[in-house]
Subunit: 520 residues, 2 copies
């Protein structure tokens, strides 16, 4: 690989032009995992390519196939907490699609947008506003990421179409051999239902291109919801740590019966405190914040031990009925708990706070402040995110698994429980650390690996994995001698025999890298 | 193939026992397309195998691989209108999973069932009732089919989980080489979120096993909805043929804003008349029923030119608000139109009529009567079902394409327009004919093929295709020199190199049958 790279760079430069090829060591630093310790040289790219067209992607693939260059693709590279823009295999050439950033269509009548992979949430929102469309886009917490990139990594978003991550419809993919394929109804020339119906005639491959390395997605449909008459952001406060059980059981019933139709976020006291205060306001001793201090934070900040952010959308009469039902259900189930919120018409949404804007589809970066818990502007964090059934028993079991392990490593338990639907949640754990504290950083990474194994032992698997433990997370999915991984390997070998596309993504390796585990 | 079959049958019999192997010509007639003319010997199976376990399926696959026997799998074989149980390739051995019919789990708390492929809608409903579960199952029009089979063929169902065909979650699949794989969270041993979260870590293959020939599904999760407080079946009548335009545009707005959350069915006057009367009550002349008679039928039966069957589910206050909104919207958009319905609590649902039971998840066969339009108990029919964007323009365009072509062939235009979501509909056309009238049957099949081509020329593709024109329907999906089909062929060759699983399904052929189109 290192021997072939100079000639590959020459070929890439000839094909794309020098302005689309980055190789200077200083410039390449921007493309590393932002939370990696400075002295580490893991996961470093050898070059970055910035194509702007499908034809340029095809040219890159031709060269990579000829010279056996491993590529690593992203939309914006904002997969922070899971490796950011950095490749799994050091020395890979990053294909950054940041400059393929056109909003190709916004269809007001049928409620969808078609975007290229470099389009950010900010860009899509602005295009909707600029066109005067009365449509809302379900977004994640931070607006700087790519619509396509987040969707392809199973990223969460919070409005009604965030339930079951259902907003994607129809895509164009470039396969490793350069073939341009369109999925669903798009497989028929001139079919205007491409972004309206999720399937086609025959098998539906869209989700095979998510969290995988089977192709490069170059266009994607994303559904937009008509602006509701009323958006009512809601908050719930639960005073005690064990209230999590009845909170989750009540929530499941209200999601299954359709009363709540969006993706709530249940944060613990550390999460709430991280946006309302500084860690040093509460604790400057060694190790994790002790229990007695956590309860004091909950009481003094008035946020309780658990805070749920959620919302209602719709006609005012329906919102009123549902709010009364929700308030009664939670306040009955959780003694001392409280539910509150305010109704707003569309004109007021941009005036709301960062959390409430996120649930209204208005992108911002306000919530990123929470990563600075241990100091600095943006703190390091690793995401550890197991999935579990949406029951109070499972929520308490996951808490009781993670909290002691995190505290034993001297780190605060920082939890954001996100019900992806009425039947399951992802326990998104931000393992925060101070980037300047090398020992703490190393403890955080080591802890993450232990958590993956311990969770796996109890039947909880990750919904998304950091590049540093992708293989370990994938190892946990071992049913029938890793039948699922062997299936993926067969698909990989059939579609990408030279193994050039994102080797190692989600633990899927091409044949020549499987033989010698040391080559990883 | 014919040379190897006797030894294959011996091997199947040795592996399964003689009682699970059917080869008598008379018994095999039951496994033909029920709407095929008696004198035709197309699409005939050479044997039927009825395994009851995964191990028996593995034994069948081992023999089929060794002896290169083409198999054709179904759950119940009730794919009527699309070929029924019959294989695409004559001489195939049918693997009927009718006797793999256990309901493996009903989870009341998390709202799902796990079923084997032979479980019928009748069986699942009965199991729910027998367990006293307050759960509803979204079902298709006829209760005799397989839950798994209907789902794998992209079949529609009508309750809220029928929207986007979203009820399936998690499956077990036996691949062609006998490997047992579990998808999603099921890829992890002991993971209880298998039927709660639709994805896993890495790509999600579930929909690759639908309308394809990549594996045999042996277990599947299917979501069940908590019984709503109120079910309100609704009916809409539109007096004029062109009312279809404003009907569909109004419906789209009410589906996109969440007011209607289920799959409606919009039938034309022939559809309504077929359950309320006999064709001979109206017309005994040659050819299709003329326009003037159609309008007389609409007026005298009081069903209008278009009838929509739909429903509301939920808390009474929400249902009341929505009913008033719906009634106002349609009656304003359609002069002379009417919307009506009655609210019912769960105890009343079994007393409703066949249509209203279907929307409440109570399986029956009442609607099958409509196939007898040209006489007999059950008439022949071919399903032709193009997908289009959910706009009034497209609904009228599809009608104006199909009706003249059907009438030219001397057949009545019989339409059931089903919005699969708020953005698209499948125009399910029943091309009905009298099985005893050979000339009419042949005209119906010939017409179907012409419709596939004409619809494809206008950018409308089929959501599901009859075995008689699967290749033709697949041909319409020709973007970039059939990139999608070539993708499927690569997957097919990787997973099933001997091409034993359902060759030809959805136009996907194994390598040795692609070379020589004549072998099809």
């Amino acid at each position: 690989m290192s021997a072939t790279l100079p000639s590959a760079v020459d070929a890439f430069t000839a094909a794309l032009g020098a302005d689309k090829v980055i190789t200077e060591p200083e410039a390449l630093r921007e493309w590393r995992d932002p939370f990696q310790h400075e002295s580490s040289d893991d996961y470093a790219a050898s070059a970055v390519l910035m194509p702007t067209t499908v034809e340029e992607i095809q040219a890159i693939l031709a060269i990579a196939n000829e010279q056996r260059v491993p590529l690593w693709t992203h939309g914006q590279g904002r997969n922070n907490g899971y490796g950011g823009p950095a490749p799994r295999v050091s020395g890979s050439v990053i294909v950054s699609l940041r400059n393929m950033n056109r909003v190709l269509e916004i269809n007001e009548e049928l409620g969808y947008a078609v975007v290229e992979p470099g389009v950010r949430w900010f860009d899509l929102y602005e295009a909707i506003q600029a066109g005067g469309h009365k449509l809302s886009v379900s977004i994640p917490d931070l607006g700087w990421g790519s619509v396509v990139g987040n969707t392809l990594d199973h990223g969460m978003s919070y409005m009604p179409y965030g339930v079951d991550q259902q907003a994607q419809c129809g895509m164009e993919v470039v396969l490793a051999d350069g073939t341009v394929m369109r999925t669903g109804m798009g497989a028929m020339e001139g079919n205007r239902a491409w972004h309206c119906y999720k399937r086609g005639l025959g098998p539906t491959p869209d989700q095979m291109f998510m969290q995988s390395n089977f192709g490069i997605v170059t266009k994607m449909g994303y559904w937009l919801m008509p602006e509701p008459e009323i958006y009512m952001p809601l908050w719930l406060r639960a005073p005690n740590d064990d209230d999590l059980g009845p909170l989750v059981d009540t929530l499941r019933r209200l999601m299954l019966d359709g009363t709540i139709r969006m993706v709530p976020q249940i944060g613990n006291v550390v999460g709430a405190a991280s946006v309302m205060s500084k860690r040093t306001d509460w604790w400057d001793g060694d190790g994790a914040i002790p229990e007695v201090t956590l309860q004091r934070m909950a009481d003094e900040l008035g946020c309780g031990r658990w805070t749920m952010r959620f919302a209602l959308y719709g006609d005012e009469a329906v919102v009123d009925h549902r709010f009364a039902k929700i308030k009664d259900a939670f306040e009955t189930a959780i003694p001392g708990g409280a539910v509150w919120g305010t109704k707003h018409g569309p004109e007021a949404w941009p005036t709301l706070d960062a959390h409430e804007q996120v649930q209204a589809g208005i992108p911002n970066l306000g919530i990123n402040a929470m990563t600075a818990w241990y100091g600095g502007e943006e703190g390091g964090h690793v995401g550890f995110s197991p999935v579990a059934p949406l029951t109070g028993r499972d929520a308490l079991a996951v808490r009781d698994l993670m909290r002691p392990m995190m505290e034993e490593a001297g780190l605060d338990y920082f939890a954001g429980i996100c019900p992806i639907n009425g039947r399951s949640f992802a326990h998104v754990t931000l393992i925060l650390f101070d980037l300047k504290d090398r020992a703490q950083s190393e403890r955080a990474y080591a802890l993450s690996r232990r958590l993956v194994e311990e969770a796996g032992r109890r039947g909880y698997g990750e919904y998304r994995a950091h590049i540093d433990f992708m293989d370990l997370a994938s190892d946990q999915y071992g049913f029938n001698d890793h039948a699922y991984r062997r299936f993926n390997e067969r698909i990989k070998d059939a579609l990408d025999p030279n193994g050039i596309l994102s080797p190692g993504k989600s633990g899927i390796w091409p044949a020549h890298m499987r033989e010698d585990a040391g080559a990883r």
